[in-house]
Symmetry: D2
Subunit: 349 residues, 4 copies
């Protein structure tokens, strides 16, 4: 039984962490912080947790957090980088669900996130927490940078093709659709039900903060810079991400690939992965089939037998795209079963 | 480890049973039947169950079902009454999620359900599976009639007031709203997204089949016939029932009751119940806070201090209103912990 | 062609007014104010109006507004009462969509709205703008207090029964469900899609500001104080109000009424009304059938032949419940056809 | 005043036609047919039309339809081709909203639609009813093949770039998202609210029937065969299509284009079009802003200044994607103002 702290417990990724950790048999939720709600019972803010979490929100303080074995940051960008160093110095493992440690180039990070990085010396040490790519490094990490929701769905989808060197990485397209919970639990006009219900739109087409993160990840896999067009969309539902990925088979290795071979490639790449599920050929994934679960379901198509491949990849943005993946990382870091606390079935319908 | 059979595994209550039973540590899902999908893998119809249920749909047959310790009927009305007798004779416990054994008066049942009852002699033996009311009888029952979704929310809401004799039972009003999954998984115009999305309506105001069931239940609690107006509504969401109940304090015992006393009454009545949660005074329940869980959350109000009380009671229609309550009954019948397999947290947001 | 001003053009009732007025052949939208968006083109904030409104938001000022023939206030409560007097003095007719002039008793208004009334001397002069009740007074009014959305649906539903003296007005119940646009266009946690989507709840059960307004209206119709329990709910859709009303036939005149007679009563009461539509017996109204239109559709039921009647009444909260009714009032005040600019068909599906 | 007939009045495109035609001042709705609902009042099936359409559904018969000046087919594929010839022979203009006359190659049509074409000799005569492309031909046409919903959004989006010869037409991508009303008003499991609500998925990735229609259209514009990957998706809302289009600037003419020039190109191409609206640079279209209207709103982006362009194009699938465009064609054929009956404002919120 380890002691866990959750900093920023009142956002959607925070409460999702609590939902998962409360039933995790190896973890005690010891500290839950929230500046705004300090002194309030957690289950007064979240009645869904009544009877499951017996805790109060407290102000985030190094002393109390340092009593934990692991601290999760479910905070807005710019908070974890202020506290991580102190916790690591006290021997506490840190799992950051925000973007503070995702981008290896501090100046690029600053350009996209609009602030100086407070702790650039830790960036190199941080392990990018995508277990399907970095499992070994995660096991021995002290500081994890959990991937963003879009980057998780997109990277898992492209991974087998890029690793196998089959596609032209100069011209990748990721058309991705997200439920509105991805925008967080903030009082904003743009995510009111009256503004987002019954409507569909793209946003941030000029450039979204997840673009450099995805590019960095795909570049690392490819071993060379990639050309990516990434268009995020808002779809009128609460949870779920659906990535529709387009890539062209290259002339060198890709040209002769058949769809059957590509299917085998995907299945082989993920056969050992508990949370990545390659669907049978011809089946389309649906976000509802992973809602509330840590699963990524995907499939690969080659419409009309052309050279352009279509990969479909779905996750729950709050689970595999955030809190679930964070717990998966924690399980690896502490030697628990990787699926501990995460063996749940999606809520259908 | 007991062997369970699910008859009618392709409706929403059927797949919800599978979602719960697949993770229940005391149960093996041994048989899942569906005439329409016999020969198909369960997870081909329900990709959410991939990796969790390794079974095929089979044709419902007494021989295979009789190898189970318990058989659930998640079938349309009129099926369980044809097979229950044979299973009971073979020593198999039967839990019926349909309406076949809910109404004690067979002719009234026929009038509402439009068919002769095929097995009236079993009706008396059937125990109405509302654990908060009938726990002891359930423990020793061989045949359970699981309550309907509306009846569960309404009866739990009125229960403490009627038991305490505080309200005028001649004039009860239950204004209840349901998500569309309550209409089942059937190809019908009326429950298309284009017909039910972004719209709200009442239906069956002249008389809904759950009216005699609720009346029978409240009559039993009151010890005398009750007068109930029940209006069901369809609300544009998938899961959830919200009952808004109105009752007038009577002149005899009710008149002097204060809201504080009523709050105490409710809390005391349900303090031992794992799945019924009386919210603090002034808090409104919200269906999202029980979505996917077996919980009923409720609260009691006395607007403007008048003699008319308002009780709010919410459940997930597919869990506490169907599959979850069925498993709760099974747990009682087999001596498992009552919350076994049901200790989950609602999916918020 | 008259000149109209809209104060508070950036809320949902404001933009709905613009949607209606832009196509009204007797009206020119001359001034649209918004402190927050002053200097911005209206269609930059509302791209749905591109090509239809060629105007900029301006700061609200008496001078410019006084050039109008009529000024609508689509403002938060507490604004119209500051400006109405000045406009009326300049001969401008005022139609207030907020609550400032709805309650005849200024101290009761203060108690519910939490502020002193800035202009109590105008309250008596204000005509309550429910045309089906007050048509003649509206025609000659200078100042209109437009009814709230809930009060419109509830009063129209109860009206025929109370006028005819058939029901016990001591025990009226209004269980009303609203889409989230009723909460307005404000950055608030509670109306985020992630908070209100896929969920249903009651709110303000202890007392909602529309309670005194409805009670005042019903009292005026009944000629004596009424006892009303009013429970508002939030339903996961954007537009629409569904009122489910309960009333008991009284012993004096109501007792012998048959449902057929009640149907005749309703049809007779509203046969001349362009915007109130009594559905054939047995048909349930559905909010989608009035979405975007100024119609109220309703029906009356007598479940199980009991003495408790059920009336169902639906409107679009932003049209008949706000902007449409305001324009209907304007039409009456200026002698236009009552349905001018309002002859549209609901958007189904 | 012309007489119009609507064959197949009980689908969503049929009722949408009625919604538009009922208020069209140049048109009398003379005949509305439906085999299933013959003998029923139209407004009994569609209460939204009460007071607006005084008609009964009749069986489709040449004699009665031949009394009309124009007949719309809002029927499943395969019906219009059986009746068009007879009507044309009687001098009745025919506007087909189904796919019967969209594909110029009858054998390709048969391959995609799974039936022999009953009337191949009329295909050549049929004019493809996309006014922004074929206005002159439409004006003198007797038979119009209305474009599909996806093809309308996609072709309007690509049109300026292809006409100007700026992009590599061998590698076009159309990632398109549709509301569920596009699936029609049919009792089907797949479009139940419980199946499509709160979920997002792609479908028919291997090949959708709108692919040959779009390819044919783009090929005609380009003057040579194009390579198109088209992926349709279902998004949890009722109305609306959002096309996200990807194209690469070619080396010949496209290479030196700046975004500002492309913006000018789009604005110039559509400046005369009443129903196509190019948004200011940097603004994202949102389907809600065209809901219920005949508008197409679009914008063009060049993310990160790369050679890959992104065009966003939104329509209401039932209006500009079906019934509205059909009426726009009718207006052209009969010499009415092109926007007659179609000058409405989108329903926001």
């Amino acid at each position: 039984m380890i002691r866990a702290g959750v900093v920023g417990g009142t956002g959607y990724t925070g409460v999702e962490l609590l939902r998962i950790l409360a039933l995790h048999t190896e973890v005690e939720v010891a500290v839950v912080t929230s500046r705004a709600d300090a002194g309030t019972r957690v289950d007064a803010v979240y009645p869904s947790l009544r009877g499951m979490i017996d805790a109060m929100f407290s102000v985030p303080e190094l002393e109390s957090l340092a009593t934990c074995d692991v601290v999760f940051f479910a905070t807005p960008n710019g908070t974890a980088m202020l506290m991580a160093e102190g916790l690591l110095a006290r021997g506490v493992k840190v799992i950051d669900l925000s973007a503070d440690f995702r981008i290896k180039d501090a100046s690029e990070w600053s350009a996209w996130y609009g602030m100086e990085h407070a702790c650039p010396e830790l960036i190199a040490e941080a392990v990018y927490g995508l277990p399907e790519l970095n499992r070994d490094a995660i096991k021995s990490a002290q500081l994890i940078a959990c991937p963003g929701c879009y980057p998780t769905a997109v990277q898992l989808g492209f991974l087998p093709l890029i690793e196998a060197g089959l596609i032209d990485t100069d011209f990748l397209i990721a058309d991705v659709k997200s439920g509105v919970s991805g925008a967080g639990r903030k009082a904003e006009l743009a995510t009111l039900m009256s503004e987002t219900g019954e409507s569909f739109k793209a946003y941030a087409v000029k450039g979204h903060r997840h673009l450099p993160e995805i590019s960095q990840g795909l570049t690392m896999i490819a071993g060379k810079p990639v050309g990516l067009t990434f268009v995020p969309h808002l779809t009128p539902m609460i949870r779920g991400i659906h990535a529709t990925l387009y890539a062209r088979l290259n002339d060198t290795k890709g040209g002769s690939s058949t769809l059957a071979e590509l299917q085998v490639l995907y299945e082989a790449r993920y056969v050992q992965e508990f949370f990545v599920d390659v669907l049978p050929q011809g089946v389309h994934p649906d976000t509802r089939n992973v809602r509330g679960s840590n699963n990524c379901q995907m499939s690969i198509f080659q419409p009309q037998g052309s050279e352009t491949l279509v990969i479909l990849s779905v996750i729950d943005n709050l689970v595999k795209g955030a809190a679930g993946q964070a717990v998966q990382n924690m399980n690896l870091m502490f030697g628990f079963k990787e699926e501990a606390g995460l063996k749940v079935i999606a809520l259908y319908p």
